[in-house]
Symmetry: C2
Subunit: 348 residues, 2 copies
Amino acid sequence: LAASLAVGERLGVSGRAFLEAFLTGFEVECKIAEAINPRHYVGGFHSTGTIGTFGAAASAAKLLKLTPPQTAHAIGIAASMSSGIRVNFGSMTKPLHAGRAAENGVTAAELASRGFTAGDDGLDGEWGFFQVMGGGADVSRIVPALGKPFSIVDPGVSFKPYPCGSLGHPTMDAMLKLVTDHDVKPDRIARVRVRAGSNILNPLRYKTAKTELEAKFCLPFMMASIALKRRAGIREFTDEFVSSPPVQAMMSRVDTVFDQAIEARGFDKMRSIVEIDLTDGRKLSQPSDERYRGGPERPFTREELHEKFTDCASLILSSDRIRHALDAIESIDQVKSIRDLTAALVQA
Amino acid sequence: LAASLAVGERLGVSGRAFLEAFLTGFEVECKIAEAINPRHYVGGFHSTGTIGTFGAAASAAKLLKLTPPQTAHAIGIAASMSSGIRVNFGSMTKPLHAGRAAENGVTAAELASRGFTAGDDGLDGEWGFFQVMGGGADVSRIVPALGKPFSIVDPGVSFKPYPCGSLGHPTMDAMLKLVTDHDVKPDRIARVRVRAGSNILNPLRYKTAKTELEAKFCLPFMMASIALKRRAGIREFTDEFVSSPPVQAMMSRVDTVFDQAIEARGFDKMRSIVEIDLTDGRKLSQPSDERYRGGPERPFTREELHEKFTDCASLILSSDRIRHALDAIESIDQVKSIRDLTAALVQA
């Protein structure tokens, strides 16, 4: 998306051309990800950084109207720029992977447009991306599968309901349901227990968080934020809020518990149970919904989407500008120049 | 070197500080390369691009006087920028790997100097560079081995005598010896045969070359250039010279022959025999020297070094400027500001 916006803005393309380029990059990236040996991610590469580079390159190639040989070179150059490893999860370098993927993909396409060359078989050659960085791929899942169906239709996309590790999201929704259904005030909470399997507890490894970056991987913070604010949005994931005394005190009342019964049900779904002990002795309990809110099985309502956009955009835009930007986004297929959209995303 | 020059020039450091930074980067890069599982290169990564990133980061970190934690972050960020695969050998993207390594290493150090963070164990963590991109490393060859001895002393460095794939260099020297010892004029050459094993013949895969990039991997071009010019320098590796009728005609007189006896002696050395059939019926033969000219066993003389520098520099500098630049380089440890050197490398 960043690549399509950046190149599209420079060229002043129509909203329709922008959409085509974005969807092209999206499809290329998804098909590559579906084809490559799972060892690629399991072994420690961060696909957002590595495979995202190809999506950005394909999207930029479309906007730059590269010829097929130039597009092949763009993909080959991208194969030598593709990077990003998971050791940097939980640090500033993790989100950098996404930005670098966009930057590198655009650079690869720009170089190819100027006649820069790469090997002929950047993806599936003997020393190509698939072999070197994934130990192979099922290439029958790429070319014959392109657009049949488009990955954005099936399996579809997920939007993150919260700005943190997705493994905590169903548990956060369960907590939100408990505190709203029973109107639980923060000072009535004695203890909170989150029961879950190792698929959730291991990656969300912080027992307490001192910073925003730790909070993104800390279940007690996620519970504390919802207990105190009934939300955990972009304004709660800040160093100030995370380190504030009420949050620190609430986090100390949250325990995470490995649950053998949940573990035995497998790793495929994000399953958990939230239990709240109230100061009056009552106990509340809520299992998480296995269907990911924001995902294809339980998509965001239009209101939830607007709410998320508004929450994030409010950091830099006034409410008038946010409405204006939303209008531009919702009529993107009619927009004459994508510059109208990028202009709408900046506070005047 | 590019990283040290770029950062050193911006900061205006002394020649001595520049040398320390260059040697630090050189040592870090070599020790990482010596420690990582050979699978890293054998599997298709191009170490110049991947491991070079760490050398550039270390060198820039030294010049920017990063604290130890900042330096660790620089290495961690570099681990997520490290890239370059061998599918692009023989294309413009191959030399791009070296430039990108310098750029990425400097970027990593600059980000770290501004407080950007990375994972704690970018190299040897579970998902660190060594594991993800090499399947492990012998870390005892790094920290305990740093400077004991410095890799630039032992095993030492090699300079390329010719601007092309090093596997052809001993064969080119053998050809040069034949044509100079016997004063062979080009029109007296009927046929040339290069006998060698698969370690040389497979990578130098072009039977004939139409472009400079192909010529770098084409033994017949290497022989033809020396037959015609008694040299194969930066002015011969051009599209114009490679495609010229005399070169094309001479290349057609060169055969490469797989030699079972040479093959049986192993892959560790670059062994070959050059045979020339003269038009008068005489036959000349010269085996290549197993010691790489320009390498630690048979180092360049100072004159050879000057000659190579002068050949390359003459593309952009007048002979006066070349002498001035050589003076600056040879007194680098006395130079007050490295800007004096970078200024000397530009035509006034």
